[in-house]
Amino acid sequence: MGIHAFDPTRTVDHGITRVLFTQEEIETRVAELAAQISADYAGQDLLLVCILRGGVIFLADLMRHLTLPCNLDFMAVASYESGARSTNHSPRILLDTREDILGRNVLLIEDIVDSGYTFDHLIKLLKTREPASLKVCSLLSKPTRREVPVQIDYLGFEIPDEYVCGYGIDADELYRNLPFIASVK
């Protein structure tokens, strides 16, 4: 599957401009991250907490490379302000974890860290529940957009301040299924 795979009329609508990371580049990087995580948590249990919805493809690929016994959970959050890409306030929890994270090794899985507000709030919230450890794994980071510092323990790629889509990340809810990451107008 390649760039031909999406509907050309939609492509024009959403203005996909260029491919930032190819399928091969993503696959390689995801495997590297998984190897690193497997090594770092060797001999321990790991609870992956994926933030819906953008993180799911990254999660599904990453977890299949992990050689650890791991559990899986999800959280869904929404920001109080509307606007697809900016988050300036603490997020509302729409879906909380099912698992009790007390004493667990928790790894938050996210597609992209932008301003950092959502993540900062989520980390603070989860820390009140006293996990044994809490780390962050993000596929993408836009450091130039950061407004609050977030420590990303496992990062796929740094990207410039551009709108992106593909590999789980949507452009107006479409193109999450693209196997590559592209820049959108």
């Binding site: 599957m1 795979a5 999406f6 509907d7 939609r10 249990d45 994926c50 819906l52 919805r53 799911v56 493809i57 999660l59 599904a60 690929d61 977890m63 299949r64 992990l66 050689t67 016994p69 791991c70 559990n71 899986l72 959970d73 999800f74 869904a76 729409l94 879906l95 099912r98 698992e99 789980g168 809810e173 479409l174 193109y175 999450r176 299924n177 196997p179």
Partner: protein
């Protein structure tokens, strides 16, 4: 012998020594100790999901399908399937849990703990599930979604265990029909573990 379903709550229904034996085995040796045999390997999964994706792409051309996945097991299948659907589509997630303790596989009515972000009215909805077992959960979700008047509503299930069915479920897109064996991997858990395995395996009798 205890008959386990794939439900997330089943550990609560296990007798204690089976559970600790299982946990111990997982911690010590990983999945190899528990695996009786691989039922569907990675290549078979990929090939079949590609076929399903092609079929859906064809059937839903120009229809802007809405794929709904029920957390948590269905997510791996969904992410693989959507990558093989070459027409524009949306994804949504629902989380359900049942009233009472450890009762998801029974006739307990599921409670929606995470609802959809979008209105399904007039939409072409495909409910994407990892496995259809007794059929009760999916039946409830289907009936719920039907009240919201989608233009169409179909089921796409990776695995179908027809011998376990207690209520009819119309499965439009079926990955594999499997015998009544306890399976894990590719999103399906064994005591919450092994959802990350890239294949579907059968659990050894002694750990069931």
């Amino acid at each position: 012998m205890l008959i386990l379903s794939y439900c997330p709550n089943f550990p609560q229904r296990l007798i204690f020594n089976t559970m600790s034996k299982l946990k111990e085995a997982i911690k010590q040796h990983g999945y190899e100790t528990i695996l009786d045999h691989v039922l569907i390997n990675e290549a078979q999964l990929q090939a079949r999901i590609q076929e399903l994706g092609a079929q859906i792409s064809q059937d839903y051309a120009g229809k802007d399908a809405l794929l709904i996945s029920i957390l948590r097991g269905g997510v791996v299948f969904l992410t693989e399937l959507m990558r093989h659907i070459h027409t524009p589509h949306h994804i949504e997630f629902m989380a359900v849990s049942s009233y009472g303790v450890g009762a998801r596989s029974t006739r307990g009515q599921p409670r929606i703990t995470l609802d959809l972000n979008t209105d399904v009215k007039g939409r072409h909805v495909i409910l994407v599930e990892d496995i259809v077992d007794s059929g009760h959960t999916i039946d409830h979700v289907l009936r719920l979604l039907q009240t919201r008047e989608p233009a169409s509503l179909k089921v796409c299930a990776l695995l179908d265990k027809p011998t376990r069915r207690e209520i009819f479920v119309p499965i439009e897109y079926r990955g594999f029909e499997i015998p009544n064996e306890f399976v894990f991997g590719f999103g399906l858990d064994l005591d919450e573990y092994f959802r990350n395995l890239p294949f579907i395996g059968v659990v050894k009798q002694e750990y069931q």
